[in-house]
Amino acid sequence: MTPTNTPKPSPAELLSDEDIYEAMKKIPGYLDISPGDFKELYLLAYQHAENRLYNSLRAADIMTRRVISALPTTLLAEAAALMAAHHITGLPVVREDGTVAGILSEQDFFRNMGDGHHASCMALIADSLKGGCSALSFRSKTVEEIMAKPAITVLETALLSEISTLMREKKINRIPVTDDGQRLVGILTRSDLMHAFPERDTP
C-alpha cells in the first residue's frame, strides 16, 4: 500500500507576490500588468504546460530501462530472492528471445501458497504459525507455474495518459514496456507516473 502523501506544492504555487514584483523590477519599462494578474497567468500557463507534457510524454521517456527480470524456468526460490535483494514487489518474466511471457508479483506468491486460498501476508503468517511453512510447496516450482499470463504490456511509444488509464482499469502496479517485436525494453510503475506528475491523481 502506498502511504497517502499530502500533495506537494507545485513550483508555480511557491511563487510569492514578492518574487513577481522583484522580477518585474528587472524588466525596464512600464509593464501593463499587475503582479496578481501575472501570477494567475503563470499558474494557468504552468497547468497548460503540464497537461501538454502529460499528453505528449511516452513510455520510453520515463520508463526504467534496467529491468530486473526472470526466465520462465527460474525457480521460485531464486525469483523470491531476486525480488527481496532488489526491494521490488514484482518482475517481468522474459523468454530466451527477450519477449515477455508473463509477470510475477507478490500477489502470485500469496495466491499460490499453502492451500491456494491465501491472499494476504497476515493470512500466511497465521497459517505458518499454526504449523508448517506455507512456502515449502514452492520448493520445486518454477516461475511460469504461478506467474500471471499473458502479461499486460504497452509499447514504448504509448502515451503516459493511456498507460495511466490502463493501470487504473486493470488495477495493476507495474507494466512491462516492449518494442514492436514484443521484446522487453523497460518497465513502468505507478510511482514512476506519480513522480513524473506529482500533482495528478495518478493513476
Partner: protein, 178 residues
C-alpha cells in the same frame, strides 16, 4: 459579501520605472505631440482641416510611456482611433438633437467595437466623444474626421514612436504590428 470584498483590491501596484525610462517617455511624447501639433498649427492653420485632437494626449501616454502594453501597439492605435472616429461621427449625425445620448452611445459603442476587433485603445473613447462634442470645424469634417485627424494624426505619432522607442537599448517597439 464577496461583492464588497472584491472592492478591497487583491494585489500590489506594479513597480515604478527608472529615470532613464522617464527621460525616454518625455522625449517620445515631446516629439510625437510636437509633430502633430506643428502640422495642426503651422501647416493647416489656414485650412478647414485639423490634425490635433485631445485624445492624442492619451495615445502619447501609451505609445511613449507604456510602449510594451498591448493597448499601445500599432493595430490598437490605428484601429482604435479610426473605428471610434467613425462611430462618433455616426452617433452625432443620427442624434444631434440629443447630444447627451449621442455622447454616451458613441463612447460605449466605440469600446464594444474596439473589443470585437481586438483594437482596444483607451484614447479611442475620447476620439469618439470628441466627434460628438465637436467644434464647428469637426462637425464640418463629417466622416472625413476618421482620416483627418484620426488616422493621419495617429500615423504621425506611430512613426515618431518607431523612431524614438527603438533608440534606447532597453526599449523596442512595436511588440507586434497586427
Amino acid at each position: 459579501m464577496n461583492y464588497f470584498n472584491k472592492m478591497r483590491g487583491a494585489t500590489t501596484s506594479p513597480p515604478g520605472v527608472s529615470l532613464s525610462e522617464v527621460f525616454w517617455s518625455w522625449i517620445g511624447a515631446f516629439f510625437g505631440i510636437g509633430a502633430v501639433a506643428f502640422v495642426n498649427y503651422n501647416l493647416l492653420s489656414e485650412s478647414d482641416l485639423i490634425m490635433l485632437i485631445g485624445s492624442f494626449g492619451a495615445s502619447a501616454v501609451l505609445l511613449y510611456g507604456a510602449p510594451k502594453s498591448p493597448l499601445a501597439q500599432p493595430r490598437n492605435l490605428l484601429g482604435g482611433h479610426v473605428i471610434s472616429a467613425l462611430i462618433g461621427v455616426a452617433c452625432y449625425q443620427m442624434l444631434a438633437s440629443h447630444l447627451w445620448l449621442a455622447a454616451a452611445l458613441a463612447v460605449a459603442t466605440a469600446i464594444g467595437m474596439m473589443h470585437l476587433t481586438k483594437t482596444l485603445h483607451p484614447p479611442g473613447g475620447a476620439t469618439a466623444l470628441i466627434a460628438v462634442m465637436g467644434s464647428p470645424k469637426i462637425y464640418a469634417l463629417g466622416y472625413l474626421y476618421a482620416i483627418f485627424p484620426a488616422a493621419v494624426g495617429a500615423c504621425i505619432m506611430l512613426v515618431i514612436a518607431l523612431l524614438i522607442n527603438n533608440i534606447p537599448q532597453t526599449r523596442k517597439y512595436p511588440e507586434f504590428w497586427w
